[in-house]
Symmetry: C2
Subunit: 416 residues, 2 copies
């Protein structure tokens, strides 16, 4: 039988425990929503001030050169690359995940149109993160060339849906709702065996689970920096393209930052070689620069150690919740098999929305996704074992007392 | 004959002079590059700290609701709208100018494809800002539907290039290089008379010259917030669509923030009504939020007063430079007719690059654009008449002494 003291002892023996000191976390909350918005690295305030006061205020336009703004997307991409198994000059941080998906999806369709123009189907999961599906819809609607988005209802149904008509398979590695994780290497091998290209959305993977895009032989990967990477609200996203494919086609959001000689101001486009052709317009420098603060914390550890703690946290939370809240109609949605799990745990409950509101009122911040799903993110950089214990106890108290049924918890407002 | 004392007197009589106090400007520079990166509003440091420390650090995910992040693109769009003659709920601030151009250009082509599918030409100027042309190229290349980009060599040649094959005319209101300003209303009327739609890039107009998109009957407008609007380096861009057209089609970068009910997490896309359908992914909140600091300063004056001072500044600068630097081979590129001029002045010189470097070394910050063009931006919010005087004198000294020929000014590095 687990006790709070045992959880405290786990924290005392945790070799990663000291990393929490690099984050600003309010004293009155248990933050289990780093899968939605990562906590603030302490150094971000100083970095923001340096940017605003010195680089912008004093350096003014000169800072594009003197403060390195010009190459910031590339420099931070290089710093992120190791977390997803990418090499130097293979990743840029720019725009949003949605925009980057549009770029790689358009590029992938162009590659396939040259190889086999019969391949006009994009396969994905109906449970994929909605914006990914919307972007595919938008691209298909624009192309007017008989492309089709084919959605399957379960992770297991993906491979069977790929045929000789399939151009691209577009999957999110860790499902935003269930926390289910695909085997990226095995899936990619099967996708390639069917003649399709593989696009991986790593929004819930980068910084959360070990990823190796090269070992998996992925074709394209995109993802987000404001979740497990702690880049700050809405910080720009990343994009990686397998070097073997990267220079084969240009991507259609061909803005001046992707031009081979940007300041020649030529009237026709010529893409840079390599991943820099995935750059487009001028980036939001302050939001972009703060990403470095989160990446600096990752440099103090490695993904193997983080994965070990992540699984220990999610295993612990599942076990305590199922024990403490038995009989309250909670259903574990996340796979029990650790190998199929990302770094968040989801429970379904008939009144999931209200329960999450009641938890937030008690200082336990998780979030809610339709229908009925309560998500709890575990960020090994700053989540403690005792947080898992305390959160489970408070969840139990709310369910025991039906506190979630109070009127103030019925009012619907949503978080991102 | 103008003197420095007369310029100082003009500053003393300037009713806008006090607005300069809202900006942080280094004491040792004369900043004439607000057309490239606006100066820092003093309040931006406090706003950045509030965002980073309170809203992100303390509020965490809750700030999407409690700090208004969810509707920030719309709220700031409403605040900007008046500067371009737009109404409430007609503007959003999001993504980059390049990305927003892609959205409106794709939408415009879709509208025209429904009205008259023979119209497959996009007309623009070869001297348009390069990224605008690159984006059009990217879209055309993606569509593979026989679209064509037709570029003309002068502002006067635009109308003659529009025919029954023309879908869209895509113009930048104030040319980034020459400072030439189109008559937006007259051009739009002629474009419409030819059956084409008009897209206006207001990057060098918003906050620089009076603009009235409704009075001009424009169809689409996009623009930048980091130049004359002083939003900060790379701050997100704006997009306006004429309400009469807005709901006619969906734009292809259809991300979740443009969805009619974002948090239903439906697997198919349904655009919001109105300009919010031009939203796509999660925005860089810190860079976005600081735009408010610049817009707040505009609320203390109006575009008519700013235009009056802008023309007084550019007239003064042209006159002093042509007097002080006579015989040095400077050629005014900007129209002498104030009605055809934006808020910057460009002179061509055979060694323009070196001269600009020598000026920067002397604390006069202008910038350079190929070929041979030196740009000097005049921002009536913070530029003084004496700045125009002093800059012209220093330019004269550099030309008199051939200081620009020193080796350190030959090294090429570029600003944005």
């Amino acid at each position: 039988m687990m006790t709070r003291e045992m959880c405290l002892a786990m924290d005392q023996n945790d070799s990663l425990a000291a990393l929490r000191e690099h984050f600003a976390l309010p004293g009155d909350v248990i933050y289990l929503d780093g899968n939605s918005l990562g906590a603030r690295p302490l150094s971000s305030a100083e970095r923001a001030m340096q940017l605003v006061q010195q680089e912008w205020g004093e350096g003014l336009i000169r800072s594009w050169n003197t403060a390195g703004w010009r190459s910031l997307s590339q420099r931070l991409g290089d710093q992120l690359a190791g977390l997803i198994g990418a090499g130097r000059n293979e990743v840029v941080i720019t725009d949003t995940t949605s925009i980057n998906l549009f770029k790689v999806l358009a590029a992938a369709l162009t590659v396939q149109a040259r190889r086999d123009e019969q391949r006009r189907v994009i396969v994905s999961e109906a449970s994929n993160f909605p914006t990914d599906l919307y972007i595919a819809e938008g691209l298909i609607g624009l192309l007017q060339q008989g492309y089709e988005l084919r959605l399957v209802d379960s992770p297991e149904a993906v491979i069977a849906a790929i045929g000789s008509d399939t151009a691209v398979v577009m999957l999110t590695h860790v499902n935003y709702k269930t926390g289910h994780m695909h085997d990226m290497a095995a899936m990619t091998a099967q996708i390639h065996a069917c003649g399709a290209l593989a696009i991986w959305d790593l929004a819930h993977s980068a910084g959360a689970v070990p990823v190796d895009v090269h070992q998996a032989k992925a074709d394209y990967a995109i993802g987000c920096t404001y979740k497990y990477l702690n880049g700050g609200p809405g910080s720009p996203a990343f994009v990686w393209v397998n070097p073997a494919l990267c220079d084969e086609v240009s991507q259609p959001l061909s803005g001046w930052f992707g031009h081979a000689s940007q300041f020649d101001m030529a009237s026709s486009y010529m893409p840079q070689q390599g991943i820099a052709r995935y750059l487009c317009g001028t980036q939001p420098i302050v939001s972009l620069a703060m990403i470095e603060c989160g990446l600096d914390v990752f440099a103090r550890t490695d993904m193997a150690a983080l994965r070990k703690k992540s699984l220990a946290l999610t295993n612990l939370f599942i076990s305590i919740v199922e024990d403490r809240c038995a009989g309250h109609g909670l259903k574990l949605v996340t796979p029990r098999d650790p190998a199929q799990r990302g770094s968040h745990v989801s429970f379904e409950h008939a009144h999931g929305y209200e329960v999450i509101q009641a938890l937030i009122a008690r200082g336990v911040i998780g979030d809610y996704r339709e229908p009925g799903i309560m998500r709890f993110g575990f960020t090994p950089l700053y989540t403690r074992f005792v947080d898992a214990w305390d959160a489970a106890q408070i969840l139990g108290e709310i369910l025991d007392s039906n506190a979630w049924a109070e009127p103030q918890y019925q009012v619907r407002h949503q978080v991102t």
